[in-house]
C-alpha cells in the first residue's frame, strides 16, 4: 500500500481524471472502477472509486450536524438545536435507506460481517480485501449510526425541566418519561464523544501505522488500489438517491 501513497501528489489529478471518465451516476450498473493512472514516471497506480457522492455527503453532514447540535446546546440555542436534530434525523433515515438500496460500499449487507470475519481481518496484515468499510470498522459504523438515531429519537421525546423547550413529540409521553429521555439524551452524548474519539483515533492509526489515508477517499470518493482483483463497486442511480431524500424529508416533515 505504501508505494501507492508515496506518489500521492500525482494522485490528485488522477482522481479527478477518474471522476471525469465516469460521468453519469445516473446509470446504475456494475462499474469496475479500474482506471490506470498514467503517472509521469510511468508507475501504474490503479485508482478506484469507492464511495459515492451520497455516502460522502452523509458522512460530512453528520460531522457538521453533530458539531452544530453540540454548539447549539452549549449556547442555549435550543431552537437551532431542534432544527439540527431534524436535519440529523433526515440524514440518518437517508443513510439507513442507502444501507439497503444504495451503492455497494454503502450497503450493510456488503460490510457488516460476523465475528469470524472480524477475527480474520484483525489477524491479516494485508490491506482491505474488499472496498469500503472493513469488518471492524463496520461495527463502528453500526454503533455510530445506532447511537445517533437513538439520540435523535430521545431528543424528540425529551422534556425540559422548565417546560420551555421540550422535544416536538414530548406530548406523547409523561413528564417523568420525558425527563428520563432528556437524561439519556445527555448520557448518549457522552457515549457519542467516546465513539467519535475512537473513530478519529482509528483513522490516525491507519494513516500513521498502515499508511492508509482514509480521509481522502471520504472527500474525493476514490482510492489507490493495488490488490489484484479490482473491486467491483456498483453505484446506485441518482433516482435511487432522490427517492431516499424524498423518504427522509417526508418522515421529518411528518414529525414537525
Amino acid at each position: 500500500m505504501s508505494a501507492v501513497w508515496e506518489t500521492r501528489p500525482k494522485g490528485v489529478q488522477d482522481d479527478e481524471a477518474v471522476n471525469g471518465v465516469q460521468p453519469g451516476e445516473a446509470t446504475s450498473g456494475i462499474r469496475r472502477s479500474e482506471t490506470t493512472n498514467v503517472a509521469p514516471n510511468n508507475e501504474a497506480i490503479p485508482v478506484v472509486r469507492i464511495w459515492d457522492g451520497a455516502t460522502r455527503v452523509v458522512h460530512w453532514s453528520l460531522v457538521v450536524l453533530i458539531g452544530l447540535s453540540w454548539w447549539t446546546e452549549r449556547h442555549h440555542r435550543m431552537d437551532l438545536h431542534q432544527y439540527s436534530g431534524y436535519a440529523l434525523l433526515g440524514v440518518l433515515v437517508f443513510r439507513l435507506y442507502w444501507g439497503f438500496f444504495g451503492s455497494t460500499t454503502a450497503r450493510f449487507a456488503h460490510f457488516v460481517k460476523g465475528p469470524r470475519a472480524i477475527g480474520r481481518y484483525l489477524r491479516s496484515r494485508a490491506g482491505p480485501v474488499s472496498p469500503g468499510h472493513n469488518p471492524l470498522g463496520a461495527l463502528s459504523v453500526l454503533a455510530l449510526l445506532g447511537l445517533l438515531l437513538a439520540q435523535v429519537v430521545l431528543g424528540l421525546f425529551s422534556v425540559d425541566v422548565d417546560g420551555l423547550e421540550s422535544g416536538p413529540l414530548s406530548h406523547w409521553v409523561s413528564f417523568e418519561a420525558g425527563r428520563a429521555c432528556a437524561r439519556l439524551h445527555r448520557t448518549g452524548f457522552d457515549v457519542l464523544q467516546v465513539l467519535v474519539v475512537c473513530h478519529v483515533v482509528a483513522i490516525v492509526f491507519y494513516w500513521v501505522f498502515k499508511r492508509d489515508n482514509l480521509v481522502r477517499p471520504m472527500i474525493t470518493g476514490s482510492k489507490g488500489w493495488n490488490h489484484s482483483p479490482p473491486p467491483q463497486v456498483q453505484f446506485a442511480s441518482r433516482w435511487h438517491a432522490l427517492l431516499g431524500i424524498a423518504l427522509a424529508a417526508l418522515l421529518v416533515w411528518s414529525i414537525t
Partner: protein, 165 residues
C-alpha cells in the same frame, strides 16, 4: 461583703448555667419535633416539584393542539397554585448537598438565601396568576402565562439546581 459577693456570683452562675441548659434542651426538643429526616423531606420535595412540572407540561401539551380542554387546564392550575402556597417549606436548612441525601439542590439555596427567596417569590407570583387563569382564560393568556411561569422555574433552576441533562 466580699464573701457574700462571691456567693452571689456563684448563685448567678449556677442560675445562668441552668437557664442555658433548659434553653438548649428546649431548642433541641423543638428542632427534633419539627425535623423529619432529610431524606424524607428531599423525597417529598422532589415529588412536589415533579407534580408541578407535570402540571405545567399538561398545560403546554393542551395548548399545543390549539384546542385545550378547560377542565384539564383548571386541574393543572390548581396544582400550580397549591405548589406556590407550599414551596416556602420545601427547602428547610439541612436538606442540601451536605445532608448525605441525593439531591440536585445546590448549597447556594442556603448560602444565598436572599437570592433564593427572590427567585422563589418570582415563581410564587407567576404561579398565583393561575388562580384566576384556571377558571377564566383563553389560549393566548394561558400560553403567555405558561411561558412566564416556565421562565420563573428556569430563573431558580439555573442558579440553584444542579443540571444533569
Amino acid at each position: 461583703m466580699t464573701r457574700s459577693l462571691i456567693t452571689a456570683s456563684r448563685y448567678l452562675r449556677a442560675l445562668l448555667a441552668a437557664a442555658l441548659t433548659v434553653a438548649a434542651v428546649t431548642c433541641a426538643g423543638v428542632t427534633l419535633a419539627k425535623t423529619q429526616p432529610p431524606a424524607e423531606i428531599v423525597k417529598e420535595r422532589q415529588q412536589e416539584l415533579k407534580k408541578l412540572g407535570a402540571a405545567l407540561k399538561l398545560i403546554r401539551d393542551e395548548l399545543r393542539g390549539g384546542a385545550p380542554e378547560p377542565t384539564k387546564i383548571r386541574a393543572a392550575a390548581s396544582d400550580i397554585t397549591r405548589a406556590a402556597s407550599a414551596i416556602d417549606s420545601w427547602f428547610p436548612t439541612g436538606t442540601g448537598p451536605d445532608a448525605g441525601v441525593k439531591t440536585d439542590a445546590k448549597a447556594e439555596i442556603w448560602t444565598d438565601a436572599a437570592g433564593f427567596a427572590a427567585a422563589r417569590e418570582t415563581f410564587v407570583r407567576e404561579a398565583n396568576r393561575w388562580a384566576q387563569l384556571g377558571s377564566n382564560g383563553d389560549v393566548t393568556s394561558w400560553s403567555e402565562a405558561a411561558t412566564s411561569l416556565g421562565q420563573s422555574c428556569k430563573g431558580c433552576h439555573d442558579k440553584f439546581r444542579v443540571k444533569r441533562e
